[in-house]
C-alpha cells in the first residue's frame, strides 16, 4: 500500500491541480489551452528528461538554460548566414537543426569532460559554463536580440506551431523523448548503470562499470536534448537574446525533484519528471486564468508547492 502511494503521489498532485483549474475556469480543459500548456512545457520537459539522468547519476547541470540561449543564438546566426546560399526551404531548416544538435552535443561533452576527466565538481563546472554561454549569447547579439531573418519565418514556423493529426510537434517530440527516456531508465543497461553510479560510484567501479563513461554520457545526452528543445524554441518567436532560457535550469531541476528523483542521486523516474514539469506549468497557467491571486505571489505559490512535494517524499520514505 505504501508502495502504491509512493508511485501515485505525483499523479495525485497533478489530478488535484487539474480539478482546481477546471473548477476555476471553463476554458481550462479546452483543446486550445491543453495544447498551449503541453507545448510550452515541452522545452523544460525535454530538458528535464535529460536532467533526470544527470541527477540520477549523482550529477547536476546548471548550464542548460544558458546553453539553450547560446544554441538558439548560433542556430539563428547559421540560418541567417546560409539563407542566401540555401534559400528558404527544407535544407536551411535541416542546417539549423544539425547546428543545434552538434552544438548541444559538444556543449554537453565539455561539461562531462570537465566533470569526469578533470574531476571538477559538477556544480562548479556548470556554474562556470552557465556564465560562459550566457555571456557568449549576449556578445553574439551585441547586447540586443538575435532575430531570424523574416524571409524564413514561414518555413520554420511549423516546427513549433505545426503537427500531425492536430497534435503539435513539441507535444509529439516531448512524448517521444519521455517514453524513450522512461524505457532507457528502467529497462536499458545505461539507466541501471546511471542509478548504480549515483547510488555509490565506488560500488559501480568495483563492479566493472565504466563510471566516467556513464557520467559523461548523461551530460552528452542532456546536451543533445537541450539542442532538440532549442530546435522547437527558435521557431516560436524567431529570436534569441540574453534573456532566453533564464532560470530554465532551476525549473528543470525542480521538475525532476517534484517527480521524486533523489537530488543526491541513485534513483530516478522519468515519467514522474514529466508530471513534475506539467505541475509547474499548470500552476502558472491556472494563476493566469484566474483572478484573485496577486501576480506578485506566483513565485511564492510555486515555491510552496516544490517544498511540499519534497516533504511528501520524505514522509513516504519514512513509511517505506
Amino acid at each position: 500500500m505504501t508502495l502504491d502511494l509512493k508511485v501515485l503521489g505525483p499523479i495525485l498532485a497533478l489530478i488535484v491541480l487539474i480539478a482546481v483549474g477546471a473548477s476555476l475556469n471553463e476554458n481550462f480543459l479546452s483543446a486550445g489551452n491543453i495544447t498551449n500548456v503541453l507545448s510550452r512545457s515541452a522545452f523544460i520537459g525535454i530538458i528535464a528528461v535529460g536532467m533526470t539522468f544527470v541527477i540520477t547519476a549523482g550529477g547536476l547541470d546548471l548550464s542548460v538554460g544558458s546553453m539553450a540561449a547560446f544554441i538558439a543564438g548560433l542556430m539563428i546566426l547559421v540560418m541567417n548566414g546560409l539563407l542566401d546560399t540555401l534559400g528558404p526551404g527544407l535544407p536551411l531548416v535541416l542546417a539549423g537543426m544539425v547546428t543545434a544538435l552538434v552544438v548541444g552535443t559538444l556543449a554537453g561533452a565539455v561539461n562531462g569532460f570537465l566533470i569526469t576527466t578533470m574531476r571538477i565538481e559538477a556544480f562548479i563546472v556548470t556554474l562556470g559554463t552557465m556564465g560562459i554561454y550566457r555571456s557568449l549569447v549576449t556578445w553574439l547579439a551585441d547586447g540586443g536580440t538575435l532575430s531570424l531573418d523574416f524571409g524564413m519565418r514561414t518555413v520554420i514556423r511549423p516546427l513549433y506551431y505545426g503537427g500531425i493529426l492536430g497534435i503539435a510537434w513539441p507535444i509529439i517530440v516531448f512524448a517521444l523523448v519521455a517514453v524513450i527516456g522512461e524505457v532507457v531508465m528502467r529497462r536499458a543497461a545505461f539507466g541501471r548503470h546511471a542509478a548504480a553510479v549515483g547510488s555509490n560510484d565506488q560500488v559501480a567501479r568495483y563492479s566493472s562499470v565504466n563510471v566516467n563513461r556513464v557520467r559523461l554520457l548523461t551530460y552528452v545526452f542532456l546536451g543533445i536534448l537541450v539542442g532538440i528543445a532549442t530546435i522547437m524554441y527558435v521557431p516560436r518567436l524567431g529570436s534569441a537574446s540574453s534573456s532566453t532560457g533564464v532560470l530554465w535550469e532551476l525549473e528543470a531541476i525542480a521538475a525532476v525533484i517534484i517527480g521524486g528523483t533523489m537530488l543526491k542521486g541513485g534513483f530516478g523516474r522519468v515519467w514522474s519528471t514529466v508530471i513534475g514539469v506539467l505541475i509547474l506549468s499548470l500552476i502558472d497557467n491556472i494563476l493566469n486564468l484566474t483572478d484573485g491571486v496577486s501576480p506578485y505571489l506566483n513565485g511564492a505559490i510555486q515555491g510552496v508547492i516544490i517544498i511540499l512535494a519534497v516533504i511528501l517524499q520524505r514522509e513516504r520514505k519514512a513509511e517505506g
Binding site: 524505457v183 529497462r187 536499458a188 543497461a189 541501471r192 548503470h193 542509478a195 548504480a196 547510488s199 555509490n200 565506488q202 560500488v203 559501480a204 567501479r205 568495483y206 563492479s207 566493472s208 562499470v209 565504466n210 541513485g266 534513483f267
Partner: protein, 494 residues
Amino acid sequence: MKLTLHQVDRSFGAVQVLHGISLELRPGEVHALIGENGAGKSTTMKIMSGYLSPSAGEVRLDDAPVAFASSQAAEAQGVVLIHQEFNLAEQLTVEQNIFLGHELKHGMFLDKRAMAERAKSLLNRLNCSVPPGARVRDISNPDKQMVEIAKALSRNARVLIMDEPTAVLTEREAEVLFQQVDRLRAEGVAILFTSHKLDEVKRISDRVTIMRDGHVVAQAATAEMTEDDMATAMVGRDVSSLYPARTAPVADDTVLSVRDLTVPGHAQGITFDLKRGEILGVAGLIGSGRTETMEGLVGLRRATGMVNGRAPYPAPRAALDAGIAYLTEDRKERGLLLTKGMRENLTLQSLADFTGLLIDETAEDQALTQAISDFDIRAPHRAVAVGNLSGGNQQKLLLAKTMLAQPEIVIIDEPTRGIDIGTKQQIYEFIHALTAQGKSVIVISSEMQEVIGLADRVLVMRSGGVAGELTGTDITEDKIVRLAMGLDGIKGAA
C-alpha cells in the same frame, strides 16, 4: 557499577526476537557476548544502553530497576555503547570529537585549554599516542577505537559496551586494544563486548554468554569453555571441521603469472604464479599492500609490470573479460548498492549478459532464484533492500554476483570479515567448490587461521613487497607472523 538484565523479552511487531535474556555485567569483569548473526546480540546491547526498551523484564543498575528514556539518559548514568561503525565526525579533531555535545565551557566561550588537557590525559590513560589536534579522518582504525573509548571515559563511563571492537583491526592492533581493556578492567569498569573471533574471547573475557535465536544457550566462566565448545553452542551443531578437507587436486598449468607488479605508493615488484585449481593465500599486516596489489592487478589502481606477459589491465572490465574477478573487502561501501534490491545488485557486474536492446528482467529473476539456492542466501523477501540483509547474506550475495560473471580466477579480499561461524563454513565450502570446478582462488585474509585452513600456498606481504612464500607444512602461524613482521629473512621457504 553493576548492570543486570533480568528476564528481558523484546518484540518487533509480532516477531519476538529476545526470549528471557538474563545476564550480569560486574565491575572489573570483561563479559563476552557471542552468537551467530541474527542471534539477538545487537538488540540485547541496545536494550542495555537505552537505545531500545524491553518489552518485558527489567534492566537493573546496581540491583535497582531503571528505565533509560534514551541513549543519552543511559550515558548520563555511565552506560555507554560504542558502535561497530565509528560514531565520529571525520572532519573534526580528536579533541573536538571527545567533547562533542559535552564541550567544556568557560562562561560563554569554549574552554579550549581545559579540553586539550583533559583530552591529553584521557588518551594517556589509554596509552594512545594520537595527538588531540589530529583530524579523525587522518588517524588509523585502532586509534579511532581509542578515541571512541576516550569519548566514553570523558562521560565517566562505568559500563562500557563494545559492538565488535576488533572487526576492523588486525591481530596486532586488537592486541593493543586488549591491553587497554585490561587496564579498564583493573580500574573497575564493567565491560561487555561482542566478537566473531573466539580466540579473542578466550584471550580477554572473564565470562561468556552465548546466544542463539534470541535465547541464552550457555553462560559460563570463560575458563570453563574451549573454543570448540563455544562454536558448538553458537551453531547448535558440531563445527570442529570448520575448514573442509581438500579433495580437488591442484593442476600443473599456470593460469596467472604476475611479474614485477608495482602499484605506486603501495607495492613494488610483486611476482607470483597461480595454478589452475589452486587456493593461494595472501597474508600480511593491514597496510602491507595486499589489497592495493590485487586492485592494481585488476585495473582498479594504476599499476606497472607484467600480468600474463602483458601490461596490467587498464580497467576492471578488461580484467573481467580476461576471466579475473576481484571481490572487495568492503562489501558495504564498494561491493553492494545497499539501497537497491538483490536483483539489481546480482546482475550489476554482468548486465551485458542480460541485455539485448533492453534488460531481460525475467532472465534476471531466474538468475536470482538460482543464486539464492546455490549460495543459500536467506532474505525476508526478494525485494528487500540489500542494506537490510545480514552481513553473511550480503557476503553470499556478493559472491553470487562475482560468480555470475563466470571468472576463471577469483580474488577474494577478507572473505569472512564480520560473519558468523556458520556462514563462514559455508563460504569456505563455496571456495573449495570453485577449485573443484577448476577455477583458481586468491584469498586475502587478516585472520591467520583462515589462511592456514584454506590455502595450498601462502604469500606473505610486508611493506609493499613479498616477504616470503610458504607451502604445505610450512604454513604455520609462527612462520607467517615472522615473515609479516620482518623478524627473519627467510625467503621462499619452500
